[in-house]
């Protein structure tokens, strides 16, 4: 029996605390750039916990774990790129 499956409560608690943190950063730290990085960072951590512990990819064949974790990293990197470089590279609509 995988260790984490014996304690999904811990994963749930971390996810709830992380949600509270993103909410707080989004509300209180709504000052732009750093808050964006923190928000995407916490989103990645939460998504990874769901993928590894709830979807049980931590104990899945490595290929599937790499594919899904690779998607997570790629999307997070693209979101950060669009967030920070988008305003410089994309045309402003009127």
């Amino acid at each position: 029996m995988p260790a984490i499956l014996q304690n999904p409560h811990r994963t749930w608690l971390i996810l709830v605390l992380a949600t509270a943190t993103t909410f707080w950063v989004g509300v209180e730290g709504g000052i732009g750039l750093a808050a964006g990085a923190v928000t995407f960072g916490i989103t990645w951590i939460k998504a990874r916990l769901v993928v590894l512990d709830f979807m049980e990819l931590r104990h899945a064949p490595p290929l599937w774990r790499r594919i899904i974790e690779g998607w997570l990293i790629a999307v997070t990197a693209l979101l950060l790129t669009a967030y920070y470089l988008g305003p410089m590279l994309l045309p402003r609509a009127a």
Binding site: W12, T22, I42, W71, A93
Partner: protein, 199 residues
Amino acid sequence: MPIELTAPALDTDKAGRHLPGDPDLWFLILAELLTFGMFFVAYVGYRAMEPAVFDASQRTLDRSLGVINTLLLLTSSWAVVSAVRAARADRPQVVPRYLAGAIVLGFGFMVIKYFEYSAKFAAGISLNTDTFFNFYFALTMIHLGHVVGGTVVLIVLWSNARNGRYHSGNMRGIESGASFWHLVDLLWIFLFPLLYLLR
């Protein structure tokens, strides 16, 4: 010779590594992730082009409802994990209780979404209001469709579980439904900060 009616865990390899549920389902999950991933990045790109519009429209959303819905889905996913765990530990009588909890939380998500949409429609805001609301309604409605579909799956699992159908010798059905439900949760983990929080 008796026919084997319960599916053995064929997809567990020699090292004990196991992909939960039907392997084919994981290709659907991957397709969903790739599709939604493009939506997420497109959203942030469009936001960069119209920051004032996105900011103003985003401020009309009720963040507390977004947070509550996040907590409902996270907790629902936890209940489904607990159901899978109970079935695997051959405690089939506990499985339907956890599934029922997950279903109630899924309905809670729908009810909150109903109130959010009603408030917006009452204020004359729709899919066509601006680019932000194009994304907001399109993405949350597609996601809500997944919540509804996932809840139907959970109800089927619950109905089967009440007959004690899921145990360590028959995990594929419940693992498949669980994996889909976690996908619904996973997508919302991105949608919530993007739509409600990102400034």
